[in-house]
């Protein structure tokens, strides 16, 4: 199919030529009809092409693997001259249309048509004329409805900067020639378009990676980047069935639109605009996803998220597209963007209620927006969206530096390992490196974080940031869903706003208490589950059988307890609080059930944590492994009641939340009063627990303070929402009086309570420090390579230490790290029973001035540095000094050298140190067999012991050459599972210094030290995995199973 080239012009006007002459001089046009499972309109489509008055038109029908083989016959019946090419696979419109590049030569234009369009007879001619007149690369006709040609479908489209399509007309409006002016458009819709053949070739055709929906926008955009104009020629009219919407719906339509929109945006922008626009697009997608989630359209939210994921997986393909486009770029993005609409079409659609009837056929993006909106039609959509937009704005503004800048490692916001596998190996291994090591079970948190690391494709740094910043929206969504049963959007908004205004999460961020932030995010979900267990209005909308409730709550508690074990106590206290509240309020029904289910859930959580649970229950277990070490910092009861645990909040405005939450107690009736009573009882229980946990007579740690207060914050927020309901439903029962005044005060208090949080958001990082001590202490890691393996002992208030430790005395903990500044692997202390307690004993000796050679005592433990930390970070942090005598005595040790004296951190180098793996001198080797430990080491000088097995070292393996007659000392807790082989020969192991390992090596060679994890350990892990799988499956089944839902339309007295 190769029409001849146009003859040289010799006549003045078309009228001067006859039909054949016209055919000879008119630029050859090939109508390309891509047919796939064509409907009954196909013949009319072909006939309309055959009826074109354009003199030099050929027809190419590409059969995109239609299942029946009658396409050729149907074409032959209507247009025998048409060429038909059948494809073996349905690769999509774009790939099918691109066939023209291979099989057509000499064409000046291609008219790409769907199989469901019918062209008016002069359509091709009009478009060709306009192409020449306007020097356009692509021409789009006026598209009208198939059955009602007086109604417009499109006259070209525009798009916003993120590629969201915006129709230039109101789809379905009557055609009164109001859009008949020729004009530039950004996008030529795909039903029918005329494309200059050379442009199509330069652009390599449609993007074959876009199989369906969106290829037209992509081509139009790229054409403009290449310098071509896209023109709407309304004199060309085309009827369109839009069969892909109405008659043969495309699966994954929304998903494809999202994917391809993002792909086009990523492909077409240059570097500068990409950096500008892509973050905005991400934020808008996040907002859309959140709204979809809130409206219960999880699938749509998944489509939005999936769109980005799909493109991330094809980032190399997109980069190649970009390079090809850059090679032909003629216009900068600023020029291209002039035809785009200003602002965000996506956001505008979110904020604008739908108008008109069913318009699904009109625009894919519009329909998606409408779908989103449709989910919210039942409530005051605009208020919800506005409030959530405001909340999002506050969170984004308040967290902007955490999102964009560096998240300093401080408190428990420590760094993650580079690879998820590191965490998995910690979990698999039977060896815990905490302290001086032990054979105790590894925390489940390692495995959970490892899985999370895989989910984020190994981007561990991003995971760390996500686990801080993303917890805020998780808490917000939890608060929103908490009061779902009330069926009152304003009440839900009040709950959400109150929960977000309470300063707990921001104080947790400011103080580096990740556990507190985590529990804050989870608390609304937990309280909701507990409330459902009570099973009374309004939490009876989804009442699960007790077994299912235990499984669901148990799974949630297990997940939380993997990171904050003390959560089990918090959940128990919250359950008891709810129960007591019901009893005091005269509604005891359900009180026993919630306590029993909570107890069952705790048992489930404990079982799911096996074998780690043994760390808390078996002999030798310590409270510090469960609740941590009590901090010296005391939060007074006034601050507890105001949730003022850090720099955010506090002041008189902090009391506002109590005022707001008190309203339903004063004016509420029926279930609103009962649930307010339960909420207050829950809050009081948590306050009492938090208060007791700080008392010296208790003497034990209770985890991060925010973890204890989070359920109280949930309770107050719930009570605030109930206050609004009571205001709507109950207040009119009373005559005008103090209750109305109190209601007004409560409303004002809510506004006032938000102010400190709003103010704190201007900081941009919630007062979190900009830097940690990792930089100044980087040498701790760097020296490992030159000096040999060693440990670092950390001393300080547990609230400021970057790792979990054990109690040295009130408000002082000690801990060890193996590789310099701690990472997430040191966040679970376990028990110090056994060898590790020797570190504390040595420190006690120094503190009592019972030794002047602490360095010598710590040398057999491989301790090279002691870090005394009195603040979590260098700036804006309150100082938590260690006891003066401890600091003084460290400074008076003859073998400790103070190498760093920062106001908040002091570092002492142990000049008498020995590496963790060393060769004992002939004098020290016999001493290592003696005892007791301190008596022996006080007289044994290990100074200068050389490191061995320093090559290719991990936590449980080490390799290196050994000389003959070497006594290898390994400063890890004694275990028969430590094995040393030298050239394949096993060296005999003995216990050294009463707690460590030594190996006698007679003949040297290449040696490997390894900890062989016992097979039982793997068996236990397998059991644990099975338990988790069983719990997840049970939960999933229960989650999907229809449950007894009671849709109670609660009479509030006023429209909710």
């Amino acid at each position: 199919m190769a029409p001849d080239a146009a003859p040289a012009r010799s006549k003045a006007a078309p009228g001067d030529y006859d039909e054949d002459e016209l055919g000879a001089i008119a630029p050859p046009v090939v109508a390309v009809v891509v047919a796939h499972e064509p409907g009954p309109w196909f013949e009319e489509c072909l006939a309309s092409i055959a009826a074109q008055d354009y003199p030099n038109l050929s027809t190419l029908v590409i059969d995109a693997a239609t299942s029946s083989s009658d396409v050729t016959a149907r074409v032959a019946r209507v247009q025998p001259s048409a060429y038909v090419r059948r494809l073996d696979e349905a690769a999509g419109f774009a790939a099918a249309a691109n066939e023209v590049l291979a099989i057509v030569e000499g064409a000046a234009f291609y008219a790409f048509c769907h199989d469901d369009v019918a062209l008016a007879p002069p359509a091709i001619r009009a478009m060709v004329e306009e192409a020449y007149r306007s020097n356009a690369g692509i021409v789009t006709p006026k598209v009208v409805e198939w059955d009602e040609p007086a109604r417009l479908l499109s006259v070209g489209d525009s798009a916003d900067k993120t590629g969201v399509r915006v129709p230039l007309i109101e789809p379905g409006e009557l055609d009164q020639e109001q859009h008949d002016a020729v004009r530039d458009v950004f996008c030529a819709p795909g039903g029918c378009m005329l494309v200059r053949a050379d442009l199509f070739a330069v652009l390599d055709g449609f993007d074959a990676g876009i199989d369906l929906l969106g290829e037209d926008l992509d081509l139009s955009w790229r054409a403009q980047v290449a310098g071509a104009r896209v023109i709407a020629a309304p004199s060309a009219v085309v009827r369109h069935v839009v069969a892909s919407v109405l008659h043969r719906p495309t699966p994954d339509r929304t998903q494809r639109i999202e994917r391809h929109r993002i792909r086009t945006m990523l492909s077409c922008y240059g570097r500068l605009h990409r950096w500008r626009v892509v973050p905005q697009a991400l934020a808008l997608s996040a907002l859309s996803a959140m709204v979809a989630l809130l409206s219960g359209h999880r699938a749509h939210a998944a489509d939005i998220v999936g769109g980005w994921r799909w493109n991330f997986a094809r980032r190399r393909e997109i980069a190649a597209n970009r390079r090809r486009l850059e090679a032909v770029r003629q216009l900068p993005d600023t020029e291209v963007r002039r035809l785009q609409v200003r602002g965000s079409a996506q956001l505008a659609r979110l904020l604008r209620p739908p108008v008109g009837g069913d318009d699904e056929m009109l625009s894919p993006v519009a329909s998606a927006g409408r779908e989103l909106f449709g989910s919210l039609r039942e409530g005051p959509v605009r208020d919800t969206v506005l409030v959530f937009a405001a909340l999002t704005l506050v969170l984004v503004v308040g967290s902007r530096q955490l999102l964009s800048g560096d998240l300093a490692p401080f408190g428990s916001f420590v760094r993650f390992p580079d690879r998820p596998w590191t965490l998995f190996s910690e979990w698999f291994s039977g060896w815990r490196s905490a302290g001086l090591g032990s054979e105790s079970p590894a925390p489940t948190g390692f495995a959970i974080l490892g899985i999370a690391g895989i989910v984020v494709l190994g981007a561990m740094s991003a995971l760390r940031r996500l686990l801080v910043v993303a917890l805020l929206p998780v808490g917000v969504v939890g608060a929103w869903r908490l009061a779902r049963g009330t069926e009152s959007t304003p009440a839900r908004l009040v709950v959400t706003v109150t929960y977000l205004a309470i300063p707990l999460p921001y104080d947790a961020i400011a103080r580096g208490r990740w556990g507190g932030l985590l529990v804050w995010a989870a608390a609304p979900w937990i309280v909701r589950l507990l409330a459902s267990c009570v099973g009374s209005t309004p939490f009876d909308d989804r009442r699960l059988p007790a077994r299912h409730a235990v499984a669901g709550l148990g799974l949630a508690v297990a997940l939380l307890a993997a990171f904050v074990p003390f959560t089990v106590v918090v959940v128990a206290v919250a359950a008891v609080g709810l129960a007591l509240g019901g009893i005091v309020a005269g509604e005891p029904r359900g009180s026993g059930r919630v306590v029993v289910i909570a107890a069952g859930a705790i048992v489930v959580a404990a079982v799911l944590q096996l074998p780690w649970t043994a760390d808390f229950l078996l002999p030798g277990s310590q409270w510090s492994a469960f609740g941590g070490v009590q901090s010296s910092a005391r939060v007074d009861i006034g601050a507890l009641l105001r949730f003022h645990t850090g720099p955010v909040g506090g002041g008189p405005l902090g009391w506002a939340f109590l005022v707001v939450a008190a309203l339903p107690l004063l004016i509420g009736r029926e279930w609103r009063f009962t649930w307010a009573a339960r909420a207050w009882a829950l809050a009081l229980s948590c306050w009492a627990l938090a208060w007791a946990g700080q008392q010296s007579w208790f003497g034990q740690g209770t985890g991060p303070i925010e973890a204890l207060l989070a359920p109280a914050a949930v309770a107050l927020s719930l009570s605030a929402g109930l206050g609004l309901l009571a205001f709507q439903a109950d207040l009119r029962e009373f005559r005008f009086g103090w209750r109305q005044v109190v209601s007004t005060i409560a409303a004002a208090a809510l506004v006032a309570g938000m102010l400190p949080t709003l103010y704190a958001s201007f900081d941009g990082r919630w007062h979190a420090p900009r830097s940690g001590f990792d930089g100044v202490l980087a040498f701790l890691h760097d020296e490992q390579a030159s000096a040999g393996p060693f440990r670092v002992v950390w001393l300080g208030d547990p609230d400021v230490l970057p790792l979990a430790g054990w109690r040295l005395e009130d408000g002082v903990a000690y801990a060890t790290s193996d590789d310099g500044f701690p990472s997430v692997e040191e966040q679970w202390a376990g028990s110090s029973d056994g060898a590790t307690s020797l570190v504390g004993d040595a420190l006690h000796l120094a503190q009592r001035r019972d030794t002047t050679r602490l360095g010598r005592l710590l040398a057999p433990m491989g301790v090279r540095y002691i870090v005394v930390q009195t603040a979590a970070a260098p700036e804006r942090e309150p100082s938590r000094p260690v006891p003066a005598e401890l600091e003084r005595e460290l400074g008076q040790q003859l073998d400790l050298q103070r190498v760093l004296a920062d106001p908040h951190v002091q570092v002492f180098r142990n000049v008498a140190w020995a590496p963790v793996r060393t060769a004992l001198s002939p004098k020290a080797a016999p001493a290592a067999r003696g005892g007791p430990f301190f008596d022996v080491v006080a007289g044994t000088d290990l100074t200068g012991s050389p490191p061995v097995l320093a090559g290719d070292a991990g936590r449980t393996t080490a390799r290196g050459p050994l000389a003959d007659n070497t006594t290898v000392y390994v400063a890890n807790a004694s275990s028969p599972h430590w094995q040393l082989t030298v050239d394949g020969r096993a060296a005999p192991r003995t216990k050294a210094f009463g707690w460590a390992n030594s190996f006698a090596v007679d003949r040297g060679g290449n040696a490997t030290l390894r900890f062989d994890t016992p097979i039982q350990r793997y068996g236990l892990l397998a059991v644990q995995v099975l338990l988790w799988v069983a719990a997840l499956v049970t939960w999933w089944r229960d989650h999907k199973r229809p449950v007894r839902r009671r849709r109670h339309r609660v009479a509030y007295g006023a429209p909710a």
């Binding site: 005091v584 107690l665 009081l684 003066a884 008076q892």
Partner: protein, 506 residues
């Protein structure tokens, strides 16, 4: 009242009660203070704890040349039933102006010597026997507890003995000092740690404040001793109080003083003595007397930046007979000192023994030092400064001591600071393996607020006389060593045993 309202009141009352209980409990709670079990031992030298894994004593000043002016001998007393091993390490030093000495010291390194101290006995280690050097400091380390280490310096004008420091400190104070023509004063600064120390040494003198440039930011390398010649830095000063403050690190500082006897105000004598590491609110000097030829001067130094009000109490023997002396009030300006010459106070009767208590009545704590001089016609001759004792204890150990008829006299003076508890004190001599209860010095009664002076020469005659003082109530014990003829006057508090001491004034 409707049912709902009844429930409403019940719930609100419950909330109010719980919150009230929490508020009340919060206010009633007392924040526990960490008990500093060793702070008292930072105020003055103390014996090593009985269960110590390792302990150290620091003797900063002295010569080890065999013929120097302050020949230093380390005296280690072991009251335990088992012999112990101590390691004595000598750190060489020389005066900066002594070029030859500096050159010889530059080629020397610290040398250690292991010393076995028998059960219930003492060992003496002349530093010159370990390594000869113009000056030397000693570090004594042991892995056993309950030992006491003293530092004896012998000169041509008598010898002195005083406890070695049991802990370093970033601050050291010396209320008295003299750099007149007849006097020579040195400060020996010993840094036993591996890290360098940097010091500022300033003086408040009778002529005003001095901060010699050479003594500001003075570095003392780790494991070194630096000898500071005060006469060079602040010459011809009749009285100066020294302030040694470390910018970084911790050190031990001894003051070495000698007088050639050419000035009637300063009898010939020499003494090496540890400074006071910290100020305290109460200082006790059990021994005291003024008489013809016998002077007694108390100097109170205030190292803080606030004025301090102090009273000097003179508690006479047998007050029923001798009467009561009104306290002498003083105001000590910041970073300054004030002196009281008791021999010039008419209210202090001559020839009556007394105890001096320096008590801070308001303001920051202070440091107090007492200087006793003896010259004819007094029977004892010499120059005897001593820092008071800020601790009382039920056990005191004196490592050095001798009571030889005709040559040396030794007195133990006891003061009972309690107001209503009588102390019963027994003295035990550690006699080469034997714990010898000194006959006649058992269950000595010391009445509240009274003192008792015990002349050991009346009961025992030994050249080797470490003494353990045990009491059933806390007392303060001071030892006086006097040469029977010629100059020789040394006064020093004992060394309290760890676990038995308590801080006075608390």
């Amino acid at each position: 009242m409707t049912s709902t309202n009844a429930r409403r009141i019940r719930v609100i009352l419950l909330a109010i009660v719980v919150i009230a209980v929490l508020v009340f409990g919060d206010r009633a709670r007392s924040t526990p203070r960490s008990v500093d079990v060793v702070s008292g031992r930072s105020l003055m030298p103390a014996a090593s704890p009985p269960d110590a894994v390792s302990s150290a004593f620091f003797c900063a000043g002295g010569t080890a040349s065999g013929s120097g002016g302050f020949e230093s001998t380390i005296v280690i007393a072991n009251p335990n039933a088992n012999s112990i091993t101590a390691t004595v390490t000598s750190y060489p030093a020389a005066l900066p102006s002594d070029q030859a000495g500096q050159a010889s010291v530059a080629s020397l390194a610290p040398v250690s010597k292991s010393v076995t101290v028998g059960a219930r006995s003492r060992a003496e280690v002349p530093l010159a026997q370990i390594q000869a050097s113009p000056f030397a400091a000693a570090l004594v380390e042991t892995n056993d507890g309950d030992i006491s280490v003293e530092h004896r310096t012998a000169t041509a004008v008598g010898s002195s003995s005083s406890p070695c420091a049991s802990a370093p400190s970033p601050t050291w104070y010396f209320p008295t000092g003299t750099t007149t023509r007849d006097a020579h004063e040195l400060l020996a600064v010993f840094n036993p740690f591996p890290v360098d120390a940097v010091l500022d040494i300033t003086f408040q003198t009778s002529d005003g404040f001095r901060a010699p440039t050479a003594l500001q930011a003075l570095p003392v390398p780790g494991g070194h001793v630096r000898i500071v010649d005060v006469n060079e830095q602040a010459p011809r000063i009749a009285q100066l109080a020294a302030f040694v403050v470390a910018r970084s690190g911790e050190v031990v500082v001894d003051r070495l003083q000698s007088f050639d006897g050419s000035d009637p105000a300063h009898p010939a004598g020499a003494v090496a003595m540890l400074g006071a590491p910290l100020p305290a609110t109460e200082w006790v000097f059990p021994e005291g007397a003024v008489n013809e030829g016998l002077t007694e001067t108390v100097t109170v130094q205030n190292p803080s930046d606030q004025p301090s009000s102090v009273q000097v109490e003179v508690i006479l023997d047998d007050p029923d007979t001798n009467g009561v002396v009104d306290p002498i009030p003083l105001t000590v300006q910041p970073a300054s000192y004030t002196q009281v010459a008791l021999h010039q106070e008419t209210r202090v009767p001559k020839g009556v023994g007394h105890t001096i208590v320096v008590r801070t009545t308001s303001g920051p704590p202070v440091v107090a030092e007492r200087v006793v001089t003896g010259a004819a016609p007094a029977p004892r001759h010499g120059y005897g400064p001593a820092i008071g004792s800020p601790l009382s204890s039920t056990s005191w150990l004196f490592a050095d001591g001798r009571a030889m008829a005709g040559t040396d006299a030794e007195f133990i003076v006891l003061f009972n600071p309690a107001r209503d508890v009588t102390a019963h004190v027994s003295l035990t001599a550690l006699a080469q393996g034997q714990a010898l209860a000194i006959d006649g010095l058992q269950q000595i009664e010391v009445r509240p607020g009274a003192r008792v002076a015990l002349d050991l020469g009346q009961h025992v005659n030994r050249a080797d006389l470490p003494v353990l003082v045990n009491s059933d109530a806390p007392v303060v014990a001071e030892r006086g060593l006097y040469a029977a003829s010629g100059p020789g006057l040394s006064l020093a508090a004992g060394m309290p045993l760890a676990g038995h001491a308590s801080v006075l004034g608390r």
